[in-house]
């Protein structure tokens, strides 16, 4: 557990959007998908997912429908709306810019300054 990274504030929503962009998922599925695409490198408390999901639905970025899961249980499935897809693109771009800038800044060698 100790080698897992804490999430930066605000990044959970981006991860959820990304996870759902690969296909409709229920809440537990979102959690598994995030684990899968991040190679289990991120520490997410399970319950913490839900406030994020509800928030995104309320913002119109996700839509939710009740359905039946692969375990044959009732579950709520989330998928991206058009607005959600657009937001994911924007957020991804802005994250990449930020990450590149931070990485560049951190990888500067003394003699290059």
């Amino acid at each position: 557990m100790t080698d897992q990274a804490q999430l930066l504030p605000g990044t959970l929503d981006l991860l959820i959007l990304r996870a759902v962009s690969l296909g409709p998922l229920h809440g537990y599925g979102v959690l598994l998908r995030i684990g899968q695409i991040s190679a289990n490198a991120l520490l997410i408390e399970q319950g913490a997912l839900y406030p994020g999901l509800f928030r995104l639905v309320r913002q119109g970025l996700l839509k939710a429908n009740w359905g039946t899961s692969e375990n044959n249980r009732r579950a709520k499935f989330y998928e991206l709306t058009v607005a959600g897809r657009k937001r994911l693109q924007e957020e991804t771009d802005s994250w990449n810019r930020l990450a590149a800038a931070i990485t560049a800044a951190l990888s500067q060698q003394p003699e290059e300054v």
Partner: protein
């Protein structure tokens, strides 16, 4: 419309939210089950898997709360939730709830009543269109509001500041509608009165300026709605009917609307008559004499854009012109504007001071109640420390807990506020319907309006928040782990807590209230035994006005002689005399007095003013007023004889220099009459205020100073009702058309004592409330401290503690706080009663009886309040108690 839509939306979301909550619940369960499925697949047993899944999920309640927040928690929904929970909690502790609500009921009720009176008399404008711009005028020098008719006419016609200046005066008369003549009170009004006020008739028409075509030219009557309703049974055919007013035929023109009750707040007339006709009705008013001031009040709407200051300057310049033209009658004086309704600065300052005092005391009650509730809430919060700790540990946020506590406080304050307001409304309606003086159509119009409801609500909510805040610190500092570990009864604080301070403050306030009420009661009791300068016991007063029965001036003295003789002929009557207005009556006559050598008799040259009585020779004996020197008025002091007077000691001292030299000396009245002093009587009380400074008074022979409106003073050794019927039958024998009003002198005195009685009553009630509040306060504190320490007390008893020691341990602290609070309150109360001396006759706080009474009262209160907790402490059964824990 917008509001409605938003409300509908909110209600709709409320229903959706219930659905959403169920969905959320299901979704979280579904998550945990999926996780458990996975764990099961990895080899765990189903139950173990489920438990593990729940643990991994984390604080479910916390996340639900966060979801609610993420979705945008509706404030209504959270409030309803809090409210439901609070109601459940309050139902669980009925003692606390009842005590808190009752305390608040008392406080809000008291404040609502006092504020409603203040509102009814001062804040609410007169009930006429655009009442805000209505002003009465008064002369600046002595704030004298009564004008003469010629002055009024000049002010009315020359001013450029008012839309119209109207005038009215209050008079009484006898109205004969074909049945028994009845005694009535009415306004004499200027022709433009109704127009100037902007009132429309309910029936028929009003008096118009065009009706006035000279003195006694307009024999018309406009009925008030109430009088029309009660005396003419809503008969619409009454318009055009002719009735007899003081034996003169008057035509009824119309009826005023129900909401118009005249322009003096507490005095509603039976009807209105043109002012120009008053001379015919009353005789003594002279519309042509500039020095004859009888126009009760002049008032009008300011023109748009004119400020009261500008209007006063305008009037003052007219006043200067009048002074130039008529230096004998009109002093040089400026004018000022006052709000109408309370007769300018005549009644207003005293009433305002009294109400301000009451408001202050009511505020103290509220403060005491808040302190009381603060104690209750703090104790409750301490008791609930465990519950709060558990909720915190289970993931509830502190803000949520605080909000819930505040909701509880608000619910209590709303309940208390509603109950207080309801009881005050009942009280106010009764107060409004109360006629303190049977002789006058007077009442205090204090029915509550929106202002009162608003103030009560704001006060209730404000105090709710105030005492709701008290436990906040306790909650914020609560450390759930410590409390859950240690249990709530671990600490018995010996340091001074907020609760202790609150209790001391509260007791002090209550002691102030108790002290002031005792001072007031004692003052009233004393004023009953003061020397009035006459003896009101066993005396019947018979108020008649011969004008009402149509007697001409030359027939009045003979009729008065016959009335006096008839009274003296009644068996059991020991003395009977006549006076124009008895002392301590609601109205009194004040005259300027000039020294014998003064020739220029303008008001500014007067030596002093003296209250004037016109009496028959027998009056002093009938009133039991003691003659100190000289002789009484005799029947030889008639119109053609030299004018004489009997004066009181104060008059002799102040105006004639000394008591001994006064006999035989002379002075002058404003009309130039030279008067010789023939007798000196004791000082007395004259104006309707027992706390008055010594007043100069003179008694003039009624034969030399005729008056038709007089009161017979009949002293007898028979009891009231019997004597009254004998008097009535005698009067009927003399003239069956003469209305008479009978009451005992003691009843009449109730009017003079009105202010003191009201003051004593209000202070008494407030004192009682203070006492009740301190009982609940001490009781709450003592009961709480005993219940907290039951276990300790049980151990002490088990170890062989004596009753006294147990008692000491249980209630020593509340008793000590009571003593400190009472002492502080007593000192404050003694200081505060200086203020009381203004309204309560002889209010002296240094009276040992008062001091003793307060101490005794507080001790009794303490005993009552600690009795039950002490009993409980003594009856502790250590065995049961120790087994329980």
């Amino acid at each position: 419309m917008r509001l409605f839509q938003s409300l509908r939306f909110r209600i709709a979301t409320l229903f959706q939210r219930a659905e959403m909550r169920a969905e959320m619940e299901e979704e979280l369960r579904s998550h945990i089950e999926h996780r458990a499925d996975d764990l099961e697949r990895s080899g765990l047993a189903r139950t173990a898997a489920e438990r593990r899944a729940r643990v991994e999920f984390g604080g479910r309640e916390k996340y639900k709360e966060e979801i609610r927040k993420a979705v945008g928690g509706s404030s209504i929904e959270t409030f309803l939730q809090d409210a439901r929970f609070s109601l459940r909690m309050l139902r669980k502790s009925p003692g606390f709830t009842v005590a808190a609500v009752l305390t608040l009921t008392l406080a809000i009720g008291a404040n609502a009543v006092v504020f409603a009176v203040l509102n009814g008399l001062f804040l609410r404008p007169l009930n006429v269109p655009q009442g805000q711009s209505l002003y009465a005028i008064q002369r600046g020098n002595d704030n004298y509001i009564i004008q003469s008719y010629p002055d009024y006419v000049d002010l009315r016609d020359r001013n450029r500041s008012f839309d119209a200046l109207a005038a009215y005066t209050i008079v009484q008369g006898g109205l004969d509608t074909g049945k028994d003549p009845s005694h009535v009170w009415f306004y004499g009004v200027s022709g433009n009165y109704f127009n100037a006020l902007g009132i429309q008739p309910y029936l028929g028409r009003f008096i118009q300026p065009s009706d006035e075509r000279g003195i006694n030219s307009a024999p018309y009557i406009v009925l008030s709605y109430a009088y029309w309703h009660s005396q003419f049974q809503d008969d619409r055919a009454v318009v055009g009917r002719v009735v007899n007013l003081n034996k003169h035929p008057y035509t009824i023109l119309g009826v005023a609307p129900p909401e118009f009750r005249g322009t003096l707040l507490f005095f509603s007339p039976d009807f209105f008559v043109p002012m120009v006709n008053l001379q015919q009705l009353l005789g003594w008013v002279d519309p042509n004499a500039r020095g004859n001031r009888w126009v009760f009040e002049v008032l009008g709407h300011l023109k748009a854009g004119v400020t009261p200051v500008q209007a006063a300057a305008d009037l003052s310049s007219i006043g200067f012109g009048l002074h130039q033209a008529y230096p004998k009658d009109d002093d040089q004086s400026t004018f000022s504007l006052v709000r109408p309704g309370l007769h300018g600065n005549f009644f207003a300052p005293a009433i305002r001071a009294f109400l301000a005092g009451l408001m202050l005391l009511a505020g103290l009650i509220l403060l005491a109640a808040c302190a009381n509730l603060g104690t209750l809430f703090a104790a409750r919060a301490a008791d609930r420390g465990r519950e709060v700790a558990l909720r915190l540990a289970l993931g509830s946020s502190r803000t949520r807990i605080l909000r819930q506590l505040l909701t509880e406080a608000v619910l209590i304050s709303l309940a208390g506020g509603a109950a207080g307001l309801a009881s005050s409304v009942v009280l106010l309606h009764r107060l409004s319907g109360w006629h303190p003086f049977p002789q006058f159509p007077m009442n205090i119009p204090v029915n509550p309006d929106a202002n009162v409801y608003l103030v009560a609500l704001v006060l209730a909510l404000a105090s709710g928040f105030l005492f709701g805040i008290v436990p906040v610190r306790q909650v914020l500092r609560a450390n759930p782990y410590e409390i859950v570990k240690a249990g709530s009864s671990a600490r018995v604080g010996q340091r001074i807590s907020v609760r202790d301070i609150l209790l001391v403050v509260q007791i002090a306030i209550c002691a102030v209230l108790v002290t002031s009420s005792m001072v007031a009661v004692r003052g009233l009791a004393r004023s009953m035994h003061t020397n009035f300068g006459f003896d009101p016991q066993n005396v019947m007063l018979v108020d008649t006005d011969l004008k009402m029965a149509g007697y001409d001036e030359d027939k009045v003295p003979a009729m008065q002689r016959r009335m006096i003789d008839a009274m003296r002929a009644i068996p059991g009557v020991t003395a009977a005399g006549l006076v124009d207005t008895p002392p301590l009556h609601m109205g009194w006559d004040v005259k300027d007095v000039f020294s014998d050598t003064t020739t220029d008799l303008r008001p500014s040259n007067a030596v002093a003013q003296a209250i004037t009585y016109k009496i028959s020779p027998e009056y002093l004996q009938a009133a039991s007023t003691v003659l100190l020197m000289g002789r009484k008025i005799s029947s030889h002091d008639e119109l053609n004889a030299p004018h004489v007077a009997v004066v009181n000691r104060e008059f002799a001292r102040r105006i004639l220099g000394s008591e001994t030299g006064a006999l035989g000396s002379h002075y002058r009245l404003p009309d130039g009459t030279r008067i010789e002093v023939v007798g000196i009587v004791e000082d007395g009380k004259y104006t309707a205020n027992l706390a008055e400074d010594p007043q100069a008074a003179m008694f003039l022979p009624i034969l030399q100073n005729p008056a038709s409106d007089t009161t017979l003073v009949v002293r007898s050794n028979r009891d009231g009702p019997e004597l009254a019927s004998a008097i009535r039958s005698k009067l009927r024998g003399l003239d069956s058309g003469l209305p008479a009003f009978l009451q005992t002198w003691n009843e009449e005195m109730n009017g003079a004592l009105f202010a003191s009685r009201i003051a004593t009553m209000s202070l008494g009630v407030l004192g009682l409330m203070g006492a009740m509040l301190s009982i609940t306060g001490i009781f709450g504190m003592a009961a709480y401290s005993v219940s907290k320490r039951l276990r300790e007390l049980g151990i002490r008893i088990a170890l062989g503690a004596q009753r006294a020691e147990v008692l000491k341990a249980a209630i020593a602290r509340p008793v000590k706080l009571l003593a400190i609070g009472s002492a502080a309150g007593l000192v404050l109360g003694v200081l505060a009663s200086r203020v009381l001396a203004f309204i309560v006759y002889q209010a002296s706080p240094r009276d040992p009886l008062v001091l003793g009474g307060v101490v005794l009262a507080m001790v009794l209160l303490g005993l009552v309040a600690t009795w039950i907790p002490a009993q409980r402490a003594l009856s502790v059964n250590p065995l049961i108690l120790l087994r329980e824990e």
